[in-house]
Amino acid sequence: MSRGQSPGPHSSKYHHPYFTPAEVEYLSVKQRGKLSAAQEERARQSACAFLEGMGARIGFPRRTIATAQNLYHRFHLFFPRKDFHYVDVSLASLYVSTKMHDTLKKPRELLAVSYAIRFPDLVAKSKHPGGEIDLDAMDPQVVERDRQRLLSVERLLLETICFNFTSRMPFPYVIKLGKAFKAGKKLTKLAWRLTIDCHRTLIPIQYPPHIVALAGLYVAALLSSFELPQPPEEPGLRSPQELAEILGQNGDWESKYQVQVDDLEGIAHTLIDLLVQGSQSQTQNTSPRTPSSPSPNPSPRTPHPSTESQSPSDPFDADKLIRLKIVMRQTEHPPRVRQPLGTADPSALYSGDDVGLLGRNEGTVRFLFGPPGVMGHEIQ
């Protein structure tokens, strides 16, 4: 398919906006290599938590943090974890995200905050009362080396998205759909938070944002009604029970909002698995954060008090969540048919001969914003 205009090899890489679950499975196994699934998950959660921490300290809006997490997940469908440190990939993802969402921060600024998170003892020594680190006080060679790594991972990352800088986020849809379904502000708030947490999974790169958003509302409704008494009726609003029932069955809402009920169920299971994981890890982590700074008053960031003694009304009790999953399975609908795993392995573009091409300026690489069929024109 090369056009023999300029010297050097030619190839086309096109932006693969979403992956099917089968593709995610195939690529994950391939990139995992010798790592176990548990190790992979731990690395993934470390990266996502790191990005949350960076975002919280800098004050990034949700879209910036979420896209960074998406880019991180996407990167490791193309590149194995063994070749990269999660901090480098996370920082590069965050940097690209800041550009995409017009919330720009320079690499040096990102690095300074990352050092403050990773090296609390450096922070303790810093003059700044706000817990900031002065880059000039650090070894310039270290900073420069980290900056170069960030930029080189950025280059690879940009190529995996084919320089396509668009990114639609689920968050506005959570609110629009919350209002459309009369869920009320409190339930929508829970859905918003669930949607944020959802970006610790690969859901957002497998489903469109409006579907992710509605799934957030569905899970919020389930968590607020399963094995719980009906709350008092609020005029003009649906109860969580009602909402869960509506979204758990076929209805007009499917065509109106271009969703299928099985989409919501599939996403819900993954999201609830994440909550189970989080709930179990929280009950394990009951020790103080740093021995050197014991606090007589628990800060807001220590484990939520109710996880210490899991009461039956706590929606995040792991056993209860598992019971919820079992009940859901009893009434679930067959999943929609997605594209079968094709002969084309998108990550094959980034291995073997092509690795040499990446990041260098030899030959012409055409980056297309979408797969040929969808873009509606023939690519020769």
Binding site: R57, G130, P172, G278, R301, F316, G373
Partner: protein
């Protein structure tokens, strides 16, 4: 330094305060450093300077207060996270308490306050959206500002009291005017660039802190929950209802994600 010396030094710094970030950060640093024990005293100095200074210096003070509040909240978030929380937001609490008084000084009624009106409104709106000041309080102040008689209408010069001779009713030299215009442009640009910044929070590292696990109802004094909700609350107020644009966007994304029947899997040829 004894409190008396602190006050003297601070007053000197305030008098030299200009529109530059460098100048602002210097004064901010000093104010934060000496908050315990001189916070109240230093605050009085700020309010006094706001009442007595020129129109230009008053807007400089408002921008200084913006940076001061930003830093106070950063410091508080950091001390929360290392478990040494003093419980106060330092000068932010004073700003909340005296905001009416300050805005009256920065945007005095009549033509005199006009040069500062736009900037003041922008800062107030930024404070509202970032919850530096309680939204209702900001709304009240903005309403009061809006209620004033527009200065373009008749202000008979015979009623102008003697004090106004000292104020900026007297026209500034051209260079000063241009300098002020340039400063405003830079500061508006900086405000715009920072518009996306959400309230800051320092996380304890190493835990899988899912946001879903945080309590839903706002408990008094629980800064974490309040901070996390600010963006949601703002978006709840400003996001439009589902409309045709959303139908189109959903169709676009669905097509990318679930290509229509008949289109095979990606073909590299």
């Amino acid at each position: 330094m004894d409190p008396f010396e602190v006050r003297i030094q601070f007053l000197a710094l305030l008098k030299r305060l200009n529109a530059s970030q460098q100048s602002i950060q210097k004064v901010v640093g000093f104010a934060i450093k000496y908050f315990p024990p001189c916070g109240e005293d230093l605050w009085d100095c700020i309010v006094e300077e706001c009442q007595k200074g020129s129109i230009n210096s008053r807007i400089n003070i408002l921008y200084f207060l913006d940076s001061l509040c930003e830093t106070c909240l950063l410091v508080k978030s950091h001390s929360n996270s290392i478990g040494s929380d003093s419980g106060t937001k330092q000068y932010v609490d004073f700003v909340n308490r005296d905001i009416g008084k300050i805005v009256e000084c920065v945007v005095p009624a009549g033509r005199e306050g006009l040069p500062n009106l736009t900037s003041a409104k922008q800062i107030l709106e930024s404070w509202r959206s970032k919850r530096v000041v309680d939204p209702q309080t900001v709304d009240d102040v903005l309403t009061a500002l809006g209620k004033r008689t527009p200065p373009a209408q008749s202000q008979p010069s015979s009623t102008a009291p003697v004090e106004h001779r000292k104020s900026s009713h007297s026209s500034l030299p051209r260079t000063e005017v241009f300098k002020r215009i340039e400063e405003d442009r830079e500061r508006h640009k900086r405000l715009r660039e920072r518009r996306w910044v959400q309230p800051v929070m320092h996380h304890a590292p190493g835990q899988m802190n899912l946001l879903s696990f945080l309590p839903l109802t706002f408990e008094k004094d629980d800064d974490t929950v309040a901070t996390v909700d600010v963006e949601f609350d703002n978006d709840w107020e400003t996001t439009s209802d589902w409309n045709e644009d959303d139908d189109e966007a959903a169709a676009d994304e669905s097509e990318l994600c679930f290509p229509a029947e008949g289109e095979g899997p990606m073909d590299l040829d």
